[in-house]
């Protein structure tokens, strides 16, 4: 085990843990803001109770999301100092802008929202949640622009051994960033929608607070059905961009070894990286990959063998994560369409409700798999085509990183157990019958 591997494990653990909480925050802030606005407009107490019930879950999530986000920013310096020195001119400024323009607003207002029920007018209080929702979305914008730059560096020049900014607009508005943002945020909205639907399904199965949870379910369903479609459509566009900008990642996603026209998509393929082939291939549909990424079934797609071994990403992990994510993406569309069809007889559809309850973890998996595709698929590069991950780590002692990695696993493990325990406890208990407002 060396510093690079340990630092990668540590960063993976920290980001993936962080991303168990972030998507929920992104989506639920909009749902809670919507519920509170409905309350302000109609005066209907049920909407206030909904705001409080889902708001409490939102806050627990938010707390864990915030504290685990801090370590990420500093890990670029602690563990990836060579990388930071190389890209700080561009990457660092994006993180700094995120903190200054978005994270400040979000974090200051969350305190105002929690403690400000009696200090603000009802309208102003609801407006605060809208601002939180918008600010957290903008946080995502900046972070994903930064990540997109690692995937496809643009607007820079190499000077004095580092990447320096020459065209800020190119960095901000490159299509890799735009589509990555929409894809990631839509996935987050799907996750929060499935969470609300799943928890509502639990209560509807027990036939308790039927009005409250039917309404909650339907709000989430509307949100979920829209973004289930958007996330898949955006995923498809992302595939086109990846094919253009990161051919090694695309080939790994599809475990395509030979460069070929009419490139196929496999229903299942088990790559054998040693012998540069697939051990098992099931259900090849020729031309589909060519069509999907080049809009021409006869287009030529580069296979992995076209690239030197040391420039290929791990094929097994990338392709399995990709297939899993895509499969789940289609499942979310089916599950939400089914819900739309049953939306007016939810209580009488126990099988569907059970399905939705059991579906809660699936969008979490899909989000994590998506990041695995993006980050593992980028290897061996930390900045695609510019800097190898192996050249990016800090010149520090292995023992230091091993110690901190163990600390991460222990602390985050306990934090995860406690966080999800509190979320489950508050999700499964009945909403307050009256509110103190």
């Amino acid at each position: 085990m060396d510093v690079v591997l340990l630092s990668r494990l540590q960063f993976a653990a920290a980001t993936m843990f962080h991303f168990l909480f972030v998507p929920f925050t992104l989506g639920l802030s909009f749902l809670v803001a919507y519920m509170e606005t409905k309350y302000v407009k109609t005066g209907d107490e049920t909407y206030l109770r909904m705001t409080k019930f889902w708001g409490k879950l939102f806050l627990i999530n938010f707390a864990v999301g915030v504290v685990t986000g801090i370590t990420l920013e500093f890990q670029f310096g602690t563990n990836w100092s060579r990388y930071s020195a190389f890209v700080g001119d561009i990457f660092g400024s994006l993180l700094a802008i995120e903190a200054t323009t978005s994270f400040f607003l979000e974090s200051t207002l969350i305190g105002v929202w929690i403690f400000g029920w009696k200090k603000l007018s009802k309208k102003a209080h609801a407006a605060v949640m809208w601002l939180i929702a918008v600010a957290s979305t903008f946080s995502a914008v900046w972070i994903l622009i930064a990540n997109a730059w690692m995937q496809n560096p643009v607007g820079y020049t190499i000077r004095d051994g580092r990447a320096e900014l020459v065209d800020f607009a190119a960095v901000l508005f490159q299509k890799y960033a735009i589509f990555k943002f929409v894809h990631t945020v839509s996935a987050a909205y799907v996750l929060s929608a499935f969470f609300v639907m799943g928890v509502s399904a639990y209560h509807l199965l027990k036939k308790q607070h039927i009005d409250f949870f039917t309404r909650s379910f339907k709000i989430a369903l509307g949100f979920g059905i829209i973004f289930s479609f958007i996330v898949v459509i955006m995923g498809d566009i992302n595939g086109v961009i990846v094919a253009e900008k990161q051919p090694t990642k695309l080939a790994a996603m599809e475990s395509l070894w030979e460069t070929t026209t009419r490139a196929p998509v496999y229903f299942f393929a088990l790559p054998d990286e040693e012998n540069e082939r697939n051990k098992i291939e099931i259900g090849a549909i020729p031309g589909v990959l060519s069509f999907l990424v080049k809009h021409d079934i006869n287009a030529k797609i580069q296979g992995l063998k076209d690239f030197p071994r040391e420039e290929r990403p791990p094929v097994l992990i990338t392709s399995f994560a990709f297939k899993g994510m895509v499969g789940l993406g289609f499942y979310f569309i089916i599950a939400t369409i089914l819900g739309w069809w049953k939306r007016n007889r939810l209580v009488d559809s126990p099988k569907y409700l059970k399905l939705m309850l059991l579906s809660i973890p699936l969008p979490y998996m899909a989000c994590e798999l998506g990041w695995v595709v993006a980050e593992v698929g980028r290897q061996p590069w930390i900045v695609y085509g510019l800097m190898k991950t192996s050249d990016a780590a800090s010149p520090i002692a292995t023992s230091q990183v091993l110690t901190s990695l163990i600390a991460f696993i222990v602390v985050y493990g306990l934090l995860g157990v406690t966080g999800f325990y509190l979320i489950a406890k508050n999700a499964l208990k009945a909403p307050e019958l009256t509110t103190d407002n």
């Binding site: 915030v66 500093f74 670029f76 020195a85 660092g92 323009t101 400000g116």
Partner: protein, 342 residues
Amino acid sequence: MVLQTIWFFLWGLLWAIFFMTDGFDFGIGTLYPFLGKTDRDKRIMINALGPLWDGNEVWLITAGGVTFAAFPLVYSVMFSSLYSALMLILFALILRGVSFEFRGKVDDPRWRKIWDTCIFVGSFVPALLFGVAFANIFQGIPFDHNGVYHGTLFTLLNPYGLLGGILFVLLFMIHGALWISIKSEGDLQERAISTVKKLWPILLGVAVIFLIASKFSTRLYDNYIEHPTFFIVIVMTVLALLSVRFFLVRKTFFKAWFASALTIVGATFFGVIGLYPNLFPSSLNPRYSLTAYNASSSPLTLKIMLIVVIIFIPVVIGYQIWAYNLFKGKVTEEDLAHDEAY
């Protein structure tokens, strides 16, 4: 040249604001087991910082982010050199943050006890280690021309470093106790006031020792001797520290707290001015030191970031003042009875 100098002082300012704002949160957390005799006292203490700590903590993120953006080389060498200390700070901050949120969520004394401990550890450790880290930066860090650190966590725990840590802890404890004096009534307020009274002479003593030790352990005074006008910063800081006591006796707690805030800002700038143009001096060889000139970003990035900061930092300060103002006044029974309260 000008851009880099501006950024150097902005960098110092962001750290100063972080210490000034989150500093009282750290202080309250450090005093928490001592001042919080009953569960009610404890709740008043954490609800006194409840609406504000999260926004305060972002000054750290911004200070870190700006270091990354404006001085990437400093960011990379500083944070990898201070690896273990920074990791301890980050884990402490994690514990502190979730403790506020988790503590009241299960009605069980053992549950609360866990998070009470975390609040203390999560506040005391960063207060101490930020002081240790900055004092060590003042005196120089053993790293070579490749940015490789030659030392361990214990290298940082030298006498001057520890003195800096004690100074920070005392500054923050007084800062926090003053905030509690503003936000509470009765016994708790009395205890907070007498804490300040007891700690204040100790802080004064430690501050004087620190100023003298800086003469022998650091080269901070070089800039002051070259430009004696800067001594005014030290004089103002000492005056601010003296007026903490002055306002405390007159029971004008907010003024005392504000004087304490200025003391913290002044103490930070005492070091920042002395460091200039060094951001991260090397104790092995001054030629390895990272300065505002040899470690900065490109002029284009510095310009873009300056525009962002000039627009947004005043906006942030504006809405944070609005938030502070919204939650002014004592923590009341009604506040504590509130469902979302900590």
